[in-house]
Subunit: 337 residues, 2 copies
DNA sequence: TTTATTTACGAAACCGGTTGCGGGAAATAG
DNA sequence: CTATTTCCCGCAACCGGTTTCGTAAATAAA
């Protein structure tokens, strides 16, 4: 009895259920006079239609899923802002799911979407994800997918990325210009395109200058910050200690600074540091951090807009293309002097 | 045709629809043999039941809403982690909505929940929210609500908070112990209990020491960082410049550091700073930042657990009580020397 | 006046599961 | 050899909107 239904509106107004329903779709079959009566009562009773009844019949949920490795990350949380702003605008609802970088969770989450729960999915894959069959399976079931940031390059759908390769190149070039000759690249995955492309760009910049860049220059990090501090500390203890570090993702920043403090390595005198990061504390770090800042809000927004456009005209499937929103190099003290 | 339904399973196995349905509820009315047959085919075809059909009939959605002012905030993003972990565990789905500190949006969002879209709501109110009628309305429609962090103290439901008052006191006492006598408190709202309680604790600590703390010592900030920098800069230009600042929320931290840099005020020599913050960059700021760190994950987790417990036994409404998870003072350099 | 058309609304099927109830067959009891 | 119970399963109503189709009344066209 708590919630009011169309049936109750209909009975109250001596109208049929279907007439009331048609009022809410603003059908031309209903006279203006009747519409006003129904809408007036609906407003008075604060009527809100049951979304699931509608979803069931219309076979669309007006809901999308956002699947992320983690939300405690400036990039992802700002991207959510972008997504939510578009969704609200278009009248969509947003379900959020976290994989915590686990492929199994990612699979389990996506498998639930084969039943109409969502009209589409925005996903940034986990760093364990090297195959895409769980994603293509879902697409074949009719659930459109748009990747953002952490994409699967071979999956035939739209991908929103930033210019990872150019950014890696830009970062390395910036360090070279600052006089660095032995640059270490901190990675979190060998398979993720963002990692690989940023690394590739970095490598390209170095080889263009005929600077050496071997396997030793690439350091694989983990998901555990304390562990990363140790990994970086060992890097700093090497006889051929690097004179610069590129942190390929935001969450490695703290580990770099902490390892430097621990090993008494001074930034930027002994080591220059640049990080891919959206942290708004970059400017107030000690020293302030030079960053490659990704357009998180716009990437989220664009991913959502792309998906909604495809949903509106569902005969038009998502093109297998990569849309690139460029990042920005923000030079601060950590690469200065 | 893409999605398979129970009807298709039933036809394939020469069983009735209801029999198949009962298999999935593990009904005692169905023989073990039949169950195995149905489950085997379901697994083979990768059958996933339509959640909205079920929601419609059972009048429960297995979905909750999380309503937040913003997600680009360490506290909220970590709290989401806590919420999501519990939700996943209990088989619930999480819809996310952002108010951007706008009461109107908060109202619009909640008004949609009167129709069975969600079984319950977790909310942290906007700083414009001073009345709770949009919330009590929803509760009266049968949608349970649990507040977390930014609560409405007078609304008769469960609230999860941290010990804001004691934390404010602790922060002030810590500054007093460090020799400060003229403490400024940066607030973001006159009405939010978190702001008021933190301020009250601060005031209490000062009056206990017979130290003055008037209206001038409380500085109201805005939602715009550049503006906040100016506000704080003006504060630092006062003839009776404070010797300490308490930033009552995380997002004020950067403004404080930037204003100090701009005004060439040295932390902690000329000004000690303590901030309510969950930022993991606190330790690598210059100087590292003393924080009151809130148990974000556990608060989110507890809010979700409380809601789910109430949902499981729906005859037991949520008690109008406040559950307190204590914060931690982490002393670093910004209050040192 | 008759026929064609438009307008405004209702009846009923439908979306895909859920659930109360009824009944036939086999098993146990009397 | 009946009477009762138990075990399995199907029928059908139901959740709350959506949509197709039919139709009576009003209006236009012939």
């Amino acid at each position: 009895m708590p919630n009011i239904s169309m049936k109750m509106l209909a009975k109250e107004l001596q109208l049929s259920l279907s007439t009331v329903s048609k009022v809410f779709t603003d059908s031309h079959e209903i006279s203006e006079q009747t519409k006003q009566k129904v809408l007036a009562l609906a407003k008075q009773l604060n009527y809100v239609p049951n979304p699931y009844a509608s979803s069931l019949r219309k076979r669309k949920s007006k809901t999308i899923a956002v699947v992320l490795p983690d939300v405690a990350d400036s990039f992802f949380s700002v991207a959510i802002n972008g997504i939510e702003s578009v969704a609200r605008d278009k009248g969509y609802h947003v379900l959020i799911y976290l994989t915590h970088e686990l492929l199994d969770r990612e699979r389990a989450i996506l498998s639930e979407f084969q039943s109409g729960r969502v009209d589409g999915v925005l996903i940034s894959i986990s760093n364990e994800t090297t195959t895409d069959c769980h994603i293509t399976d879902m697409m074949q079931r009719g659930v459109p997918v748009v990747f953002f940031d952490r994409v699967c390059e071979e999956t035939p759908t739209t991908r929103i990325t930033t210019n990872d390769r150019e950014s890696g190149q830009l970062a390395a070039q910036h360090l070279i210009d600052a006089g660095c000759r032995n640059i270490a690249f901190l990675s979190i995955s060998e398979s993720l395109p963002i990692s690989r492309n940023r690394l590739a760009g970095c490598r390209q910049a170095l080889s263009a200058q005929r600077l050496p860049f071997g396997a030793d220059n690439v350091v694989m990090c983990t998901d555990d910050e304390a562990e990363n501090v140790q990994i970086i500390a060992r890097l700093l203890q090497r006889p051929d200690r690097p004179d610069a570090i590129i942190a390929s993702v935001e969450k490695l920043t703290a580990a770099v600074y902490l390892a430097c403090k621990q090993e008494k390595v001074s930034i930027p005198d002994q080591l220059k540091v640049i990080s891919f990061s959206n942290q708004n504390t970059a400017a107030i770090l000690n020293p302030s951090l030079t960053t490659i800042t990704q357009p998180a809000f716009n990437m989220g927004k664009m991913a959502a807009e792309t998906l909604f456009t495809s949903l509106r005209k569902s005969h038009l499937p998502l093109k297998a293309e990569t849309l690139v929103v460029p990042s920005t190099l923000i030079v601060r003290e950590s690469t200065g002097k």
